[in-house]
């Protein structure tokens, strides 16, 4: 009987690839030898050698050594059946496999949380935007203890270096440490790239929280992605007897990194420092911490403490059962069933926290983000997903942020209701703008929605369609919206007064704000920098869709307030004497695609003297390091063109580079 030649074999949904669970140095420590291997489940895609796929291309060139390492072909049948190459420090092809696997995993988590495909930040070229298909990954690009995502090259560069002879920790003294073999570092840098793709203006240093948020977010994703591996969790929970707040492997980010540099503890500990007496963090610490990594770690600590609170609550009943109410576990190892249940609780909780933090990105203002606003974004995004905070996630977040000294401004209290974003209730023109079927805007939005939800559409086309739609929205905002306002109000000043509370932008050129950039038609320039779909759960558990639109404007900003005043009132020619920095305002709107209701508007006022002064102060603040003394403040240099921008997303910045 001949085999049926017409059977079509379906494509696999996933590909299994082996990676190091922790930094390879730990293999020499018997305690963790058992678990330093992990098999990741990556979405299936056809791969070319590299590997090169839909989102990534791994190019293994090593300029310091003058070498090139041949690319691995993960579609080779031998590798397909063995879950890829076995973990090996000495095989460059395994390194290529590992960076591909962990990066892909991170991308997958993002797409799951956001419900849409991710796009890398486009290349700004000739005044336009060029689609970037793939993120470049260089596993052995630098000979130093560092790694970074380069927003200019849309690439991640990983470094390698000899372990310090003294204090090598678990590394072999003098052995080579590869940052591309650390899941934490790979995830951290990939997250910078993903966030940059979603919010390119979050790289613009307009206040002390901006770069810190980038670092914190990258750490948060790395940390909680780690927790999503239950085998690793089980071992850890057994070791700490269920108490995850003691120092432990999981919460030490980039552990190998720090150890190899000669520091015994990891570079940044998410657990943070607590007062030995009260067990509470120091809420004033954030006021004195400005360096992005350090400031970011306070935010990470806040999120981690929230996770611990929820985990403890959820595991309380388990511990009650296991200890018959005494709360004291018996000596020795805890029961494996208990370990499993605790691991499951921890994994679930961390997955939820991770989702909360990622979803929040759709509820942020387009520019000048602050920690407080990020908290409001987390709360609002989670409320949209799960109106009833039965498990107390939101309360835990609010409380934990408070204990760490992170407060949103302009809210009446720290209750959940006060922290939710608001709809533009006092601006009827705006509120009705997307609703009116008469002008077929809602129809356009539905078209956009249908296109975005189409399966099998290439990301390039999604990007192109996206660009076209943004252009359409821009015309709406600059032409039709103004007309709508003019129909409703007689005077420009009335219109401006209404917009002050809603969009907080300026639609007309003003005599006292001539520092605003204007377009070719002499009107204040307006950029629609993003349009995308976000999902939430509505009444009855139905999935609902929002259109997220981000618009922004910019002004010339001057470090000297006198020059600023002159630019604003028109006595300084801004074309001849452009600003020292760019000051932006903008608004994010979440629009229900079914009804056209603007559910939330999150705006930063283009006319805000307070924000302008803050940015001025931030950029003019005294330099405190040798580097700044000679090379200038990189934040100020950021606004002076690409050459001055350096690399803002390095794992370690210049002054931290240790010598031994």
């Amino acid at each position: 009987m001949s085999p049926n030649a017409n059977i079509t074999i379906p494509e696999p949904k996933s590909r299994m690839l082996q990676v190091f669970a922790f930094d390879p140095s730990l293999s020499t420590d018997l305690d963790t030898a058992v678990i330093n291997k992990l098999t990741l489940n990556i979405p299936w895609e056809k791969l070319e050698s590299g590997p090169v796929g839909e989102y990534l291309e791994v190019v293994d060139i090593d300029p310091p050594s003058g070498n090139f390492y041949p690319p691995v072909d993960l579609d080779h049948p031998h590798l397909l059946v063995q879950d890829g190459l076995s973990p090996s420090e000495g095989t460059p092809q395994f390194h290529q496999q590992m960076v591909y696997a962990v990066t892909s995993k991170t991308i997958q988590n993002f797409e799951l949380a956001l419900g849409r495909r991710v796009l890398w930040s486009p290349r700004k070229q000739n005044g336009g935007e060029e689609f970037v298909q793939r993120l470049r990954v260089y596993p052995h690009a630098l000979r130093q203890a560092n790694a970074y995502y380069s927003p200019h090259k849309k690439a991640i560069l990983f470094g390698y270096f000899p372990a310090s002879k003294q204090n090598a920790g678990r590394n072999l003294p003098g052995g080579i440490v590869f940052t591309c073999l650390s899941q934490d570092i790979i995830t951290h840098e990939t997250t910078h790239a993903l966030l940059d793709g979603l919010h390119p203006y979050f790289a613009e240093p307009s206040n002390v929280d901006v770069l810190a948020l980038h670092e914190a977010f990258a750490d948060i994703v790395a940390l909680f992605q780690h927790f999503s591996h239950s085998e690793v969790l089980k071992h850890q929970i057994a070791r700490t007897r269920g108490n995850l707040s003691s120092e432990n492997l999981l919460a030490q980010l980039a552990q190998q990194f720090g150890q190899a540099l000669g520091k015994r503890r990891a570079l940044r500990s998410a657990i943070g420092e607590k007062d030995p007496e009260t067990g509470l963090p120091d809420p004033s610490k954030i006021q004195n911490t400005r360096e992005p990594h350090q400031r970011g770690s306070i935010l990470v600590a806040a999120v981690f403490d929230a996770f611990l609170t929820v985990y403890k609550n959820r595991s309380e009943d388990l511990l009650r059962i296991a200890t018959s109410g005494t709360g004291e576990l018996p000596e020795g190892a805890i029961h494996p069933d208990l370990v499993n249940r605790l691991a499951t609780e921890a994994a679930k909780t961390s997955q939820r926290i991770l989702n909360m933090c990622v979803r929040a990105l759709d509820y942020c203002p387009p520019v000048d983000i602050t920690f407080g606003e990020y908290l409001r974004a987390i709360i609002t995004a989670d409320y949209d997903l799960c109106p009833d905070d039965r498990d107390g996630y939101r309360i835990a977040m609010i409380e934990s942020f408070r204990l760490h000294g992170i407060y949103p401004s302009n809210v009446r209290s720290l209750s959940e209701e006060s922290l939710l974003w608001l709809a533009p209730d006092n601006d009827h023109v705006l509120t009705n703008f997307f609703k009116s079927n008469q002008f077929s805007r809602l129809e356009e939005i539905h078209k956009f929605e249908r296109y975005q939800k189409r399966r099998g559409e290439t990301r390039k086309n999604i990007f192109r369609f996206n660009q076209a739609f943004r252009s359409t929205v821009r015309k709406w905002m600059t032409d039709e919206l103004i007309e709508a306002y003019q129909k409703e109000f007689d005077r420009e000043s009335d219109i401006e007064a209404v917009i002050q509370d809603s969009l907080r932008l300026t639609l007309f050129s003003k005599d006292d704000m001539q520092s605003v950039y204007i377009d070719d038609q002499g009107r204040p320039e307006l950029e629609v920098n993003s349009a995308r779909l976000a999902y939430r759960v509505g009444p009855g558990g139905r999935t609902m869709t929002d259109l997220v639109v981000e618009v922004n404007q910019r002004r010339h900003g001057y470090l000297d307030p006198n020059r600023q005043a002159k630019a604003d009132n028109g006595t300084l020619d801004v074309d001849k004497y452009p600003g020292d920095f760019t000051f932006r305002g903008g608004a994010t709107m979440l629009i229900d695609v079914e009804t056209g209701d603007i559910r939330y508007i999150i705006a930063k006022n283009i006319d805000s003297d307070r924000r302008l002064n803050e940015q001025r102060k931030y950029l003019g603040s005294p330099a405190t390091s040798l580097r700044y003394t000679y090379f200038g403040d990189p934040n100020v240099n950021y606004f002076h063109g690409v050459e001055g921008q350096g690399e803002p997303f390095a794992l370690l910045h210049g002054d931290d580079l240790e010598e031994d």
């Binding site: 003058g66 690009a141 405190t624």
Partner: protein, 525 residues
Amino acid sequence: MSCHEKEKKLCHEKENKLVELKVRMYRPGLGDCFLLTFKNDEGNLYRMLIDFGVLMPTTGGADRMRTIAEDILSTTGSHIDTLVATHEHWDHISGFRYARKILGLHPDEIPEQPLQVDRVWLAWTENLEDPQVKEIIAPNLEARSLAINAAMVGMGVERSTRIQELLRFDGPDEEPDELLGARKKSGGTWLSQIMEDLRSGWGTPEYLEPSSESQPAKSVKEIPEFGIKIYVLGPSRKMRQLGGEQDPSSETTHGLRLNQMTAFMAAAFNQIEDTQTALADMRISQSDINQLSRLSQPFDRSRAITIEELEKACQEEDTGEEISTEVQSFYKEHYGLSKDKDSKDDWRRIDYDWLRISESLALQYVSHVNNTSLVLAIELTESGKVLLFPGDAEFESWETWENREVKDLQDLFRRTVLYKVGHHGSINATLIEGGLDKMTNVDELTAMIPVDKVRAHRNEWNFPAPSLYEELEKRTQGRIILNCEDSECPTCESSYDMDKFDEKDVTIIEDESSDKLWLDYILKL
């Protein structure tokens, strides 16, 4: 026995009273030069010159150094008791080169009245025979310097301008001024030649350190004839940057341990074509570098294809025996040959990115040398007042200051009345917490900052740092003397506010001549 004879031992004969102290701050531009004159009750004078340098001479600046040298000669009658060179930076010792002939350091052309110096004081870090210097400090600095220079070659002139500016502290590469006469000896830097002059021009120098167990005279100098006692506070051997935590005898390659910096250096060195010249006069040898290179290879040789071979194969359209055609086409498509500068993905290449760390290395290099500064606290025995001259010591040095005879460093700070601000007022050459904030003599403390603001701003350097300046104003109640502030430097005037000084204790006189060479701060006792 007169104390003016060239003796290693200082006299302990008589104790005299100090009646006047004059600190002359010369004004070379962005540089240090201080002439201290102590007068005792018998009318005798003790003169100490601390540093003599300028960073980059402004137009006519080399001439200015010579004019200053002449002034030093005439003021001191061509005789100085003690000459101090705090550290090897151009802005502290270049004057000894510019005014070489006048000072009598030129082997062939000695003037009628060369400068006579009784003793030269250097920090122990300048003693080439010292084990910690030989085994750790010198090789480290050498390696670092090699790394930086190699990286600059690799990056090209345009990409490395920031480093070039920074390396001015190391002196110029070329002959800066034809009036200097004899050309630089082959190999070696200008700095090392100046140091050679200082080590031999006036007898063997004394190498001082804060806590010498075997030779206490290296740490404390008593000059009872003038009622002064000089404490050496730094540099400390314990400083991490100077290898304090390392055992000099541990296994190394000429003192070169394999670490991030040396691994980088070994790689960067490949950028250099003329390796012989680069290594001339250095202790590090090609074989040292080869060994480091071998040890820092990330993978076994068999795993790698050199970029050179790969590019050759691609260009010659090799049949793929050595390097497979798949690898060749992958390389061409995803990275591109270096000659195809307009390949579509050229903007994503990373040929130079790895070299950028050299900027950090350059900063660390400047910092290391700054921390080798000799730090002197001059105590006026009777009144207890202290003058602090820390060279350009940075935070790490400040934090390790000590002296075998000083139990309480804070007490010294408390009694400080004159503080020569380190490194032209840069933010990290003055430790505030634990340093400046212990200088609590609010009624008398004066700060002197040898800075040329214009030159600094031209290089976009932040001297003096505004936040530091604020602190200094607080502690000195406005008694800050700046070398100059005007855009007309260096012929402008020094800047200070006479109202803030108590005329009973302090007189300030400026050079009336058109050159405006100096400012005198005279303390009455």
